[in-house]
């Protein structure tokens, strides 16, 4: 599900659990190591996905845009009528599915990373402002967060894309600007806690400026939180981008993107299941490894949160 706020919720839940849970130290360490191992495996798969997207022109067996009507709707290699020429089969105009999937990863990854960088920057700044200064600033920003979180993210993205028109840049802008509340909410809470710590009070007593305290003393303590949320958010953004492309409101054909391939494949799902199945599998796998990595990262950076 596109539960944008899901990661933070689970974190909170697990926080609660970690407090009451005091199993034998040995067992806890073992579990942590196991999860880290999963995280490393996930990282390996993710690097593979990133590499294949980056090296697409060299490793894709075919031109992703090359139409070949004579080979249209060819099934994957292991089925009757499939050939080794097109490992995962072809689509409705005979384009090689595997090549399109390799190229399609580029869009998803670029949109995911760019949008997350944008929303993290906005969200962290606003969260710091709200948490550090409190009072009116906090109230205003919190209201903004509440309004944005009330809107389903999907709905907001749909409405904005409808006005701006679908394009790669617009998509990054929409997903980047709409994603900030998740960061702002978490950063605000952390900042409020850190603000009361001795080293911040000491800094104030020494006459440090607010700006210096925030960026020299508060932010370094927030890096791990930001990294964990941002990692998990990349997965969410990729799913959302795919959904918009799936509806035809994102990346426009013929440019291959996992979402629009899935959307095109839906029309042919009666006879040619593979066109919709494989791009969706790519989204699933990418989201899964990013989530696993994010969880492992949280354990590693913040051991006291670990299970």
């Amino acid at each position: 599900m596109t539960a944008m706020s899901a990661p933070t919720k689970v974190e909170l839940a697990e926080l609660g659990e970690a407090r009451v849970e005091t199993p034998g130290a040995g067992q806890a360490t073992l579990r942590r190591l196991l999860r880290l191992r999963w995280g490393l495996a996930a990282l390996g798969v993710l690097l593979l996905i990133v590499a294949s997207a980056a090296l697409a022109p060299w490793i894709a067996p075919h031109d992703p845009l090359a139409v070949n009507i004579r080979h249209r709707l060819a099934p994957p290699a292991w089925m009757d009528g499939g050939g080794a020429q097109h490992l995962l089969g072809t689509d409705q105009v005979g384009r090689d599915l595997l090549s399109r999937m390799i190229y399609g990863g580029r869009v998803s990854l670029v949109v995911g990373v760019a949008a997350v960088l944008m929303s993290a920057s906005i969200g962290v700044l606003l969260g710091l402002g709200a948490g550090y200064f409190g009072g009116r600033t906090d109230w205003t920003i919190m209201t903004g967060i509440n309004v944005m979180l009330t809107f389903p993210f999907v709905l907001l993205a749909l409405a904005v894309i409808a006005v701006l028109g679908p394009s790669l840049v617009n998509m990054i802008l929409v997903l980047g600007v709409a994603g900030w509340p998740i960061y702002a909410r978490a950063i605000r809470a952390e900042t409020m806690a850190i603000r009361e710590r001795e080293f911040v009070l000491a800094g104030r007593a020494l006459g440090m400026s607010h700006l210096r305290i925030v960026f020299r003393q508060v932010v370094p303590n927030l890096v791990s939180v930001i990294v964990v949320i941002a990692t998990l958010q990349v997965a969410q953004v990729i799913v959302l981008e795919s959904f918009l492309s799936f509806l035809g409101l994102g990346i426009q054909p013929p440019t291959p993107a996992w979402g629009n391939m899935l959307g095109e494949g839906r029309v042919y799902m009666l006879n040619s299941w593979w066109i919709a199945t494989f791009p969706g599998l790519a989204i699933f796998l990418t989201t899964l490894v990013i989530n696993l990595m994010g969880n492992a990262l949280r354990d590693w950076l913040d051991p006291h949160l670990g299970l």
Binding site: G16, T150, F151, V239, L262, L288
Partner: protein, 315 residues
């Protein structure tokens, strides 16, 4: 903190929630207005590209778009309060009527999805919590991690391919009979179930470690009684709170599910209207859905405040 009679505390709590509600609704109306009038230009979207300059000016005047933004916003809001969002640019009917007609299917789907999610998440979450670190617990966690990563729209299509195309046991789309409900409700429920299950699990684990559970056990109560009567009821509070907060996400999921199964709800209407560039309808749908979420959140807050005195007295 100023104490007071329980009724006074509850009254203050409700007032606080209502004030917040008004602010959020104001913000939503501002956002919906800004999307169309600040980001885009309605006339540009309404008229064909080759329309003359005079034509643009005429329409701008006709729609009142040449007036200052705050005047337009006031006109928009004062109409919206009375349910007047203007006429659809595409079909010659009031946008409000179109949206309201499509509301019931969306609400039914949302609640069906919620029911499915609870049916999956409650038993599994409780079992996983009681048999912590067992193979069952690990299996549930693994399925939950996988389930959270599966894109909803892809899951829907896979269900259609398997159950409608291959096995031919369920209709691929449509609305009206219970068969139509099965796949969309399952799809939406499966999407919400993982997070709910993890919350139920950690809620039950936390409660099971509390003193009153030890007391109940020391009294010699049977373990099932302890779990059902004492632990579960207290574990419900965080679950209800989070489900309420997740309602927006649930509705977001319903939007995705609707488009996959051609469900005749508000979301399909919104996507159609976006394709037709029918902005009064888009605006109205967005606001009505947001209001629905706000209302549900308020109800959840009140319920939680009612069952948990710590919350209504809190900040």
């Amino acid at each position: 903190m100023s104490a007071g009679s329980p009724a006074a505390v509850m009254r203050r709590y409700i007032t606080r929630q209502l004030v917040q509600l008004v602010v959020v609704v104001f913000g939503i109306s501002l956002l919906a207005f800004a999307i169309l009038h600040v980001l885009g230009d309605p006339v540009l979207l309404l008229l064909p590209q080759n329309a003359g300059k005079d034509e643009f000016e005429r329409y701008r005047h006709l729609l009142g778009l040449d007036r200052p933004l705050y005047v337009q916003y006031w006109k928009f809001v004062s109409g919206a309060v009375l349910g007047d969002f203007g006429k659809s640019w595409y079909a010659d009917t009031p946008a409000f009527k179109l949206v309201i007609e499509r509301m019931p299917p969306t609400i039914y789907l949302t609640f069906a999805g919620l029911a499915v999610a609870l049916l999956i998440a409650l038993p599994l979450g409780i079992l996983a919590a009681l048999k912590r670190h067992s193979w069952l617990d690990s299996l549930c966690t693994a399925v939950a991690v996988a389930g959270q990563a599966a894109p909803l729209f892809w899951l829907g299509i896979m269900l259609i391919i398997v159950f409608a195309v291959r096995l031919r046991v369920l209709p691929a789309s449509g609305y009206g009979t219970w068969q139509n409900f099965v796949m969309p409700a399952f799809c939406l429920g499966a999407a919400l179930a993982p997070i709910t299950m993890r919350l139920v699990r950690s809620g039950v684990i936390e409660v099971m470690n509390m003193e009153f559970i030890k007391t109940a056990r020391a009294k010699g109560l049977a373990e099932p009684t302890v779990v059902v009567k004492h632990a579960f009821r207290n574990a419900c509070i965080p679950v209800i709170t989070v489900l309420g907060l997740q309602f927006g996400q649930l509705l977001g999921g319903a939007i995705i599910t609707e488009t996959v199964f051609a469900w005749p709800g508000v979301a399909t209407l919104t996507v159609e209207s976006i394709r037709n560039q029918d902005f009064p309808v888009v605006q109205c749908a967005v606001i009505m859905l947001a209001l629905l979420i706000v209302a549900v959140n308020l109800i959840v807050d009140l319920i939680v405040g009612l069952i948990d005195p710590r919350i209504r007295a809190g900040t």
